[in-house]
Subunit: 241 residues, 2 copies
Amino acid sequence: MSGRKFRERVRTEITEEILGVARRHLATEGANLSLRAVARDAGLVPSALYRYFDSREALLTALITEAYEALAGSVDAAVAAVPHARPDERWLAVCHAVRTWALAHPAEYGLIYGSPLPDYAAPRQTVAPAARILLTVTGILIDGAADGHRSPVPARPLPPAVREDLNRLTAYWPTRLPDLPMPLESVLATALTLWTQLFGLVGFETFGRLDDMIEARRDYFDHQAWVMADLAGLTSPPTDA
Amino acid sequence: MSGRKFRERVRTEITEEILGVARRHLATEGANLSLRAVARDAGLVPSALYRYFDSREALLTALITEAYEALAGSVDAAVAAVPHARPDERWLAVCHAVRTWALAHPAEYGLIYGSPLPDYAAPRQTVAPAARILLTVTGILIDGAADGHRSPVPARPLPPAVREDLNRLTAYWPTRLPDLPMPLESVLATALTLWTQLFGLVGFETFGRLDDMIEARRDYFDHQAWVMADLAGLTSPPTDA
DNA sequence: GCCTGGACGAGAACAGTGTTCTCACACGAG
DNA sequence: CTCGTGTGAGAACACTGTTCTCGTCCAGGC
């Protein structure tokens, strides 16, 4: 009985070791992960690696799942450090967490938010963590709206089909909602705008699309993040009041 | 003399043929382009391909350059079809052109706006076409501002370092500018916001990040594009007037 | 205590990859 | 007519992911 447990423990240890080597390779070599090279560095012969992962794709899937969870975890931690009463600061905490993580792990970021891998269909495992950040942003908007901040997004009505999609999505909302001065779909639509802008911004920077263009990366990022906070009505009403 | 010209013509024809095969492979197989497979389909032996391209990377570079130009060209054509007097419609034309091209050429889009290729530094050739769309958007905003539309972006001042970066960029502006009720850097900052949002949006859709979430893709895209038009002050002042 | 079954690693093999080298040939310029 | 250059073919090398077979080792059941 302890034998079986011991075997299992060794197995997960080796699996962890392989993943560690793979992560290191990803960081140094970039996206082209060589199974054989990973095996070498893990002290294994290539075929032995197949005892732990069905294929290179399976190894990548594990890395992708890890990446999603690491990113979402770091976002959640950052948000948790800011009180609910400051939705603008919470939004900025999300932005900075995503940016910092992406810049620290560019290859992993590319794996989860870059071009999809060839012949690779994202397993169901990954949709939940991918949506977590969107949920977090939505939560911030809800808190902000409940606290009487300005209604997000100037009255641009949602197309009916989109309203339907978003309504379907609101079913995933885990907890009870406070009373809101607007339909939840509208909040979700704004969250999607912020979400898109955030990952567009981070993607541009980590993928080098800002090279030779913006030097003051951090200031630029902050500015754009605050502009989006304004758009979402998270900031105190601007200077016109 | 005609001999030399003839040889040159044949050479560019074969180069074109290779690129065509490569483009077709990219469309059907996805991002993992096999040099040998391309050579096969072009009726060549692998080594012969090296008479035309120094390496697989060089072939990819050619494809990337083509893709940038094709995208920028289709954007320019779309914008040219809308009169200057309708900046909102011009912005939407840009959006639709990018989205349509991306959905029609997902692999090529991934090549130019997805995760950067390993060991691949974008050659200088590609920065000009990459910035063309940003210039186009800036032009639309300038026209809109000159025509007396609402000032884009509620007064959120630019950080000095960013202002400096953007000021440096305005040197690239090719033609003379009309008188503007605001500094050009502010317009450029707004253009960057739109640019980021646009490619974030298109990237999310073409890379499948909207799967199982938004069904009404086109309506969703239009909505977000209009929201950004509102943000940029391209639309007539919203319902609060 | 022995036997057995299953997990594990090693090694060889296969098909495929990008790249380089050498060799043969064609053909226009002199 | 010869020479040189541009071109394609073919073999080779070092890789890659994957599969198969073969020993080995060791816990669990008898």
